[in-house]
Symmetry: C2
Subunit: 199 residues, 2 copies
């Protein structure tokens, strides 16, 4: 760090650089941008930060971010409470909601089982998922990411819930729409063949 930059600027650069995917150069660019903004806008940004962190909690039912408890989805009477979609993070709910086709509720694991990073079943919200099985659940759709940890977590959930005679399904893997067979990797292609359907 060079000493000729005022402390307040260095400090803000440092704060920006703490954010994921933002290096020192970008942090500097963002800081200089902020310095040129009208004072009111910076105040608004600053307040938005504190407010978001301060007012947001997790839904006591599904674990999604919310400002009311239960969250908007869990307390929506038109949602089918008998279908639970299990996701890794709140942002996955965002992705699924955008499709506007799913009408069940969610369960956020806040992580995945990852033996490589020393994360066992107790480090994610599995107990909370099992405790929701008291109600009459028709189906649990496991929508963890299609990678090693996500698949392992899906298998674990399946084995955990099957004894309770609950239907556990996994989202389909295959060639993405608009994708190209030629560029699909072997595992995706094999999953696509395996999951073929009569038309």
């Amino acid at each position: 760090m060079l000493d000729f930059y005022p402390v307040a600027i260095e400090k803000l650069i440092e704060e920006f650089a703490k954010l994921p995917g933002i290096g020192h150069k970008t942090a500097q660019r963002l800081t200089l941008y902020v310095l040129n903004l009208p004072k009111e806008e910076v105040d608004e940004f600053s307040k938005a930060l504190v407010k978001a962190r301060g007012t947001i909690k997790y839904c006591s039912i599904c674990g999604n971010f919310t400002d009311t408890d239960p969250c908007a989805i869990c307390s929506n009477p038109s949602r089918d409470k008998k279908i639970i979609c299990v996701v890794e993070e709140p942002k996955d709910i965002m992705a699924i909601e955008k499709v506007r086709e799913y009408n069940g509720v969610y369960h956020v694991l806040h992580g995945v089982i990852s033996p490589m990073s020393g994360k066992g079943p107790d480090s994610i919200k599995l107990k909370e998922l099992v405790s929701r099985m008291k109600d009459e659940i028709k189906e649990v759709i496991v929508a963890t990411n299609p990678n090693v940890d996500g698949e392992a977590t899906a298998m674990y959930i399946s084995k955990l819930l099957k004894p309770l005679s609950i239907k556990v399904t996994r989202i389909a893997h295959g060639i993405p729409m608009g994708g190209d067979l030629e560029y699909a990797d072997e595992i995706t292609l094999s999953k696509a063949l395996e999951g073929r359907k009569e038309i």
Copy 2:
């Protein structure tokens, strides 16, 4: 925007997305990251924003960002006040200072002459530069960026200061160190040939 995300989160995503080079997806990622931070760290970030914007002003001599007036460079007695390096933005000072070889002072134009964007000589700090020529200036080094606007601004400054019999120089253009002749564009190569030196 979907309605199930709490307002405070939407608001913070929106604020992040206003920053240059940060789209909606990145803004969402940054927001979710902030929500998982300890409360004190978010407070610190928030305060850094307001403080940086609030305490920072421009140096009345050179136009650099500063918290004292004159800035640390202009008030440093070991700096040679007779050599002025003219740059477009405060961040260019940062770049030159990193080299730790330049010992003169600076002048920040806060922009360039750009007829295409309707920015004439009056839109940048040229009058301020001319008024600094009252002191006994040995040399003005023009370090605007080597693009159309930067070159035009350099030419303009040269024509402005030459009548005052002040030595105006331009930083050298050429093949960057570690670069490859094969990949150099024609204009850079032509500048490199033109600026050749005896060794």
